[in-house]
Amino acid sequence: MGVLDSKVPSGPLADKWTKHKNEINLVNPANKRNIDIIVVGTGLAGGSAAATLAELGYNVKTFCYQDSPRRAHSIAAQGGVNAAKNYQGDGDSVYRLFYDTVKGGDYRSREANVHRLAEVSTSIIDQCVAQGVPFAREYGGLLDNRSFGGVLVSRTFYAKGQTGQQLLLGAYAAMNRQIQRGKIKSHTRHEMLDLVLVDGKARGIIARNLVTGEIERHSAHAVVLATGGYGNLFFLSTYCMGANVMAAWKAHKRGAHFANPCFTQIHPTCIPVSGDHQSKLTLMSESLRNDGRIWVPKKLEDAQAIREGKLKPTELAEEDRDYYLERRYPAFGNLVPRDVASRAAKERCDAGYGVNKTGEAVYLDFDAAIMRYGREKALTSGMKNPDDNTVRKLGEEVVEAKYGNLFQMYEKIVDQNPYKTPMMIYPAVHYTMGGLWVDYNLMTSIPGCYAAGEANFSDHGANRLGASALMQGLADGYFVLPYTIGDYLSDDIRTGPISTETQEFEEAEKNVKERIEKLLSAKGQHSVDYYHKKLGKIMWNKCGMARNAKELQEAMDEIAELRQDFWENVKVTGSADAKNQELEKAGRVADFLELGELFAKDAFERNESCGGHFREEYQTPEGEALRDDKNYTFVSAWEYMGDPRKAKLHKEKLNYENIEVKTRSYK
């Protein structure tokens, strides 16, 4: 078992980042022109990193599988982006954002990284406004904020329910400016299939042009992976269809440690599964929990009547409803963190109170908010004694202005009007806190290979708070990586261009081609989706919201078996030298079939409950997660040893010098 060096700078917490920036090596502008950087993935983290690195003068090559950087799945983030601006004067501060994030992560994240994140959060908002990102504003012309789960202040900046879209378009615009200047060479519809190491350093990638099928070699002095999370391991998730772990997994196989793979976020408010044909799940933003109240019927017979369609939720009297989050967690109510809200929904549904056909749904009700807003609007409009219908109408208008696109999205999918009847929601896989292990500089355990955004593990511990993914992606890309990468590259000013005509590239290309050949030549019994769905079922049932040792052990065996079956019997149509979506999917699922086993192993070995990782053996009498700080205050970083089951554990001990580690309570 090895010990990992996180390279966190010395000194007081609040001074670490400034001190580090002052002390690391810089590359002079003339030399930057001689240095190439590959950025894989062009969402918020990759797009902002690519733009900033190109502004600084480096030659950047970007790669994404989408047809345009603007389509990366950061675009689907709805609710907002956190920043410790304290514009609302409600007591927010850098420390408080830092504290909330560490606590929200259930004390399994690295203090110094989280503090840096909180520090640069304010610059993100300044930067985005300067770029022309149209955030929501108040009538006075200043920026508006709202609140998110797990915190007691309003620090979330937003653009209706499309914050991710607007921030991504900002980063995309910044990229476009550099593409136009010739400083970024953008490769769209390309997928990274391997990482190339020369003398132990990351020096390039092998990529496949997804249109022509051509296998290409690309070299650089450093490689940044900003390729997002691996939630599609579960088949059904709120991720986009193409999201995959390929780049990160290939780096892992080349020596990058994979940290905390079992830390997965199951988001409480998603549209429930409707049938076997389902291909993905849709999130309803957490911001809805600002105004929506979550409930199930108090009586089992009412729940049954609702499931059978004999009773409508609107017919149920107030006293017959169980607002279980408000009941269990009076201090935070409906705004408890995601892991807590998800488990509470599962608990009620498992107990038989679910409200849709499958019994796996709870209500998210806007009626109270509509009436409250309506009354306020009536007053400010000078109406003296408005009747209920007028109040309702005014209230619906206010709610529409806040969440209109989400309500429309819901109605299109479910065919019910959420203004008139409560939404039905259920938890779904949404984000992965785990990812490539990185040090304070965001470098993985491979020199010269960096990981940013959701692809790394660093900031969210065992549970991410709402509106913090956008914050982290942009912090890494705009404000952290561009500084820290210079420290490494300062050694490369005399290296000169990296040749792709070397044995290392030759070998990597050969491996990639052989793998494609192998996928296409399997005997052909079942489609790629067949295997992906099977894997997803194992993951959801045995490695999902609640886990136990016995089932995790079973999951490991079942996944290993499924992987063997896949390689013998998968049917991949088409050829390698053309556009071939089945081949693309096959490569991704093959990686998931390895990662899944490591995921289960990681969950099996972590004998405690923390954040999104809930082990049934470790809970309080009230059913809350029970951490074991004495034995598990560390990051599990796994080293690839061939078989996922044989991965070697390295521990990074987590030290909390500035925060008192407590049992998380939202009561």
């Binding site: 733009a51 900033t52 502004e55 989408q66 047809d67 345009s68 603007r70 389509r71 799945h73 689907a76 610059s123 908002i125 300044d126 930067q127 985005c128 406004v129 300067a130 770029q131 022309g132 149209p134 955030f135 929501a136 504003r137 009538y139 006075g140 012309g141 920026l143 653009a159 499309q162 879209q165 607007q166 995309y172 615009a173 910044a174 476009n176 400016r177 593409i179 136009q180 709120t238 986009c240 193409g242 409707s274 049938g275 044909h277 389902q278 291909s279 993905k280 849709t282 429309q408 999205m409 299109k412 999918i413 065919d415 052909g524 489609s527 989706d529 049917k571 149509t573 053309a578 556009k579």
Partner: protein, 248 residues
């Protein structure tokens, strides 16, 4: 439901395509349109045939990847949604559904229903940004108050997802709605003023170079836009363009 499909199949940009008919049984009304195509593809794969390739990614109406012409309408019969948000409850048992890729000179077909929309990226690269470098010490975000109405109007223009339905809907394959949405987003904000003239001139020039047609104000783009981008943006771009041209 039983559905009859007529789908455009084309092996590559270089080869000729044609409509191919398929019959699909057991379609459920709460399937999404793309899930219906998933079922078709699963059938085709099991028969050893090549599945139909189509672009899609987020499947929640925001990434702008999906791009199907359904019975002659971009994104199908419902309004204000993308194909991925369309559900089979919009169709009836026995319906025939014709599925084609976007048709425009500037959007060449890559394979089957997938087209190349990089022309849109190049229009954005020509000026769809504000020239500001990343810096840890820019002006405080609240230093410039922006009137809520202007901020909201800018946001509305910025919600364009770049799917290309406007081009596909237009008889001239014009990209005016797309280009004007980006021009408007910045024209409505104080931060966008400095480069306003160059931006509109450069973006319009690139749009023309890409081979998009002219705008004849039929308004088909606005009707089919899944995000409801308004024709007002085209008027605003024309005004900006005129002002910039006069300014020289």
């Amino acid at each position: 439901m039983k559905i009859y499909l007529k789908i455009w199949r084309q092996k590559s940009a270089a080869t000729k395509g044609s409509m191919v008919q398929y019959t699909l049984d057991g379609v459920e009304s709460d399937m999404s349109f793309l899930e219906m195509l998933d079922v078709l593809n699963e059938d085709l794969i099991n028969k050893g045939e090549e599945p139909v390739e189509f672009d899609h990614d987020c499947r929640e109406g925001i990434c702008g990847t999906c791009s199907l012409m359904i019975n002659g309408r971009p994104h199908g019969p419902d309004s204000r949604i993308t194909v991925c948000q369309l559900h089979m409850r919009s169709f009836s048992d026995g319906d025939t559904i014709v599925i084609e890729p976007w048709r425009a000179k500037a959007f060449p077909v890559i394979k089957d229903l997938i087209v190349d929309r990089t022309a849109f990226d190049r229009i954005q690269q020509a000026g769809g940004y504000i020239s500001v470098n990343t810096s840890g010490r820019p002006v405080d975000a609240n230093a410039i108050p922006i009137e809520k109405d202007a901020a909201d109007a800018s946001f509305n223009a910025a919600t364009c997802i770049g799917c290309g339905a406007c081009v596909a809907a237009c008889k001239n394959a014009s990209a005016m709605l797309f280009t004007s949405a980006k021009v408007s987003q910045f024209a409505l904000l104080p931060q966008g003023q400095v480069e306003a003239a160059d931006r509109v001139l450069n973006m319009v020039r690139q749009m023309d170079l890409e081979g998009f047609g002219n705008c004849t104000n039929t308004g088909a783009c606005e009707v089919e836009c899944p995000k409801g981008i308004s024709l007002e943006n085209i008027a605003r771009m024309n005004r900006e363009y005129l002002a910039a041209s006069v300014k020289g």
